[in-house]
């Protein structure tokens, strides 16, 4: 028996758990391109800021000091103070928590729903596909900000309702993507083999199809996060998202707008924060597209 030569390079690395090796590969690919490295660093900073907000913030974000309003940036107040004398830097740091909460909750809701709709529609095809895809079409046919506005207006303005509204409007693209991916995998021989082994449709979708769709869904979710941040900020700006005195970045811009001419720092710093974070998620998503490429993944 002439066994083909072993791929000897991989033998000692197979000891590591599969997931860790994959994560290491992805990170090393991301770190190699400057743009995605920038994204990674900004997001890491955001997470650290959110996690240690009380330690990093120099002041309490809610304490007002009417004797000290609209102060320009100085050593005492790094980014100045707002119209109620609150420290803007501290509010930005605490606002990172709100932003992260929104992103995390939206992604947790949107990813599984989109995957479920897309894989089920793609795998079964026929009538199930038609019904599920027409439902997604209905959601897709509205501009997402308008639909979110309508939902928030109906449910009442609050941060939680904003999250629900954003989630409701951002799952259809994921479902479409997952369906398209599923269509390419469902006639693969390994799916046929699993069927012949007696696996149920649910098991095949979960064990064979979802792992294949996951990379592109993760990329799409990451690219989506920038939109989510902007929509959340937009809703906050319109007064339909986070309510005062919560230090949400969009709401901060909305209140700072009135003083914009004399006190530029009120809108500039929250604006820069939104810009940096949404740009970072976009760049990270682009980098992930390269890193999650199957050719890169198999280079263990």
């Amino acid at each position: 028996m002439t066994q083909a030569p072993e791929p000897s390079l991989t033998t000692n690395r197979t000891r590591l758990p599969q997931g860790l090796v994959m994560l290491g590969n992805i990170l090393s690919v991301l770190a190699r391109t400057p743009t995605s490295l920038f994204g990674l660093v900004v997001i890491a900073l955001l997470v650290v800021m959110a996690a240690f907000a009380p330690l990093i913030a120099t002041h309490d974000p809610y304490i007002q000091n009417l004797a000290n309003t609209l102060q320009p940036p100085s050593m005492a107040h790094l980014f100045g103070t707002d119209e109620l004398g609150r420290d803007i830097f501290s509010r930005l740091v605490h606002g990172a928590r709100i932003t992260l909460t929104i992103i995390a909750l939206v992604s947790i809701v949107v990813g599984p729903i989109g995957l479920l709709f897309g894989t089920v529609a793609g795998y079964f095809g026929g009538k199930i596909d038609t019904v599920l895809m027409r439902i997604t079409d209905i959601f897709l046919s509205f501009p997402s900000l308008i639909l979110s506005l309508a939902f928030v207006a109906a449910l009442g303005p609050s941060l939680n309702n904003a999250i629900i509204a954003i989630a409701l409007t951002s799952w259809p693209p994921i479902a479409r993507l997952a369906r398209a991916e599923t269509l390419t995998f469902r006639s693969a021989d390994y799916v046929s083999a699993a069927r012949l082994q007696g696996a149920s449709s649910a098991r095949i979708i979960w064990t064979s199809i979802v792992p294949m769709c996951l990379p592109s869904v993760i990329i799409r979710l990451t690219l989506n996060m920038a939109t989510v941040i902007l929509t959340a900020a937009g809703l906050g700006f319109l007064g339909l998202g986070a309510q005062p005195p919560l230090p949400e970045w969009g709401a901060m811009i909305a209140t700072g707008r009135r003083y914009m001419i004399d006190s530029w720092w009120l809108v500039t710093f929250p604006g820069l924060a939104i810009l940096a974070v949404s740009l970072a998620f976009n760049l990270l998503g682009d980098g992930l597209r390269d890193a999650l490429d199957p050719k890169q993944m198999n280079r263990r």
């Binding site: 028996m1 030569p5 021989d189 390994y190 083999a193 007696g198 064979s208």
Partner: protein, 248 residues
């Protein structure tokens, strides 16, 4: 050992009829070949027999039992299939262990570790390979894994869809010899699709030549060399194949 009989099998996709009343009788323990040019419906017969394609008319019986009346579990444990392309038939993100284990879990088979180890030994692979991933194996090794996956459920009937055509010539012989040995050891019945008459000559006692979704002629192995085929298409195919062999 189980026999399989296919009666009046017809398949249409929309207006196109792919198979016209195909009748085949394969005895228990036999290796039966299906030969024909591309698009003649060879693989479709296998996909119907395995119910991967369930929209057909006619009757397929295994040991006199209609496969449509079998439970999924019974069918899986009676009949398994080996696919043509070992690069496409193993899930790229599943280890060999999870590929083999799936059928055992689904069919609630106990003592999975020993069964999987036995299947790996049967196909001549080290048991440690269970923890590998398909991309860490060569084409021949992958096809062995695909055979092990089919064998782990201890079926009586194996449907082989051009099991060697995606492999290198030297590896082809290995896999064919493995299949011959497994059939002798386990008393399996094979229904093998191939477009290579040399492979059929090596493996099969009898074979059928298909053309345009019909069985042109059922012939014994000897007919390849002694020219006893009657059907004009069958004669032409055999002659072309022998000429090709000589040219090489």
């Amino acid at each position: 050992m189980k026999s399989i009989s296919i009666k009046q099998l017809s398949v249409s996709f929309g207006a196109v009829t792919v198979l016209h009343d195909v009748d085949l009788e394969i005895a228990a323990g036999e290796c039966f070949g299906l030969v024909g040019e591309s698009g003649s419906g060879k693989s479709t017969v296998l996909r119907c027999a395995s119910l991967l394609n369930a929209t057909w008319s006619g009757k397929i019986e295994i040991d006199g039992k209609d496969i449509r009346t079998m439970s999924i579990q019974e069918r899986c444990r009676t009949m398994q299939m080996v696919f043509q392309d070992p690069y496409g038939s193993l899930h790229p993100r599943h280890s060999i262990r999870s590929a083999l284990e799936l059928g055992l879990i689904v069919n609630k088979v106990d003592d999975r570790e020993t069964k999987m180890a036995q299947a790996m030994r049967d196909v001549g692979l080290p048991v440690e390979f269970l923890d590998r991933y398909p991309h860490q194996l060569s084409g021949g090794q992958r096809q062995r894994v695909a055979i092990a996956r089919a064998l782990v459920l201890e079926p009586h009937l194996l449907l082989l869809d051009e099991p060697t055509s995606a492999l290198d010539v030297s590896v082809q012989a290995e896999v064919l010899n493995l299949l011959v040995r497994l059939r002798e050891e386990k008393g399996l019945t094979y229904l093998m699709v191939s477009h290579d008459l040399a492979v059929v000559d090596h493996m099969c006692g009898r074979f059928a030549i298909m053309q345009h979704g019909r069985i042109a002629e059922v012939l014994p192995r000897e007919a390849i060399l002694d020219g006893s085929a009657r059907d004009p298409y069958a004669r032409e195919l055999i002659a072309a194949s022998i000429e090709y062999e000589r040219a090489i």
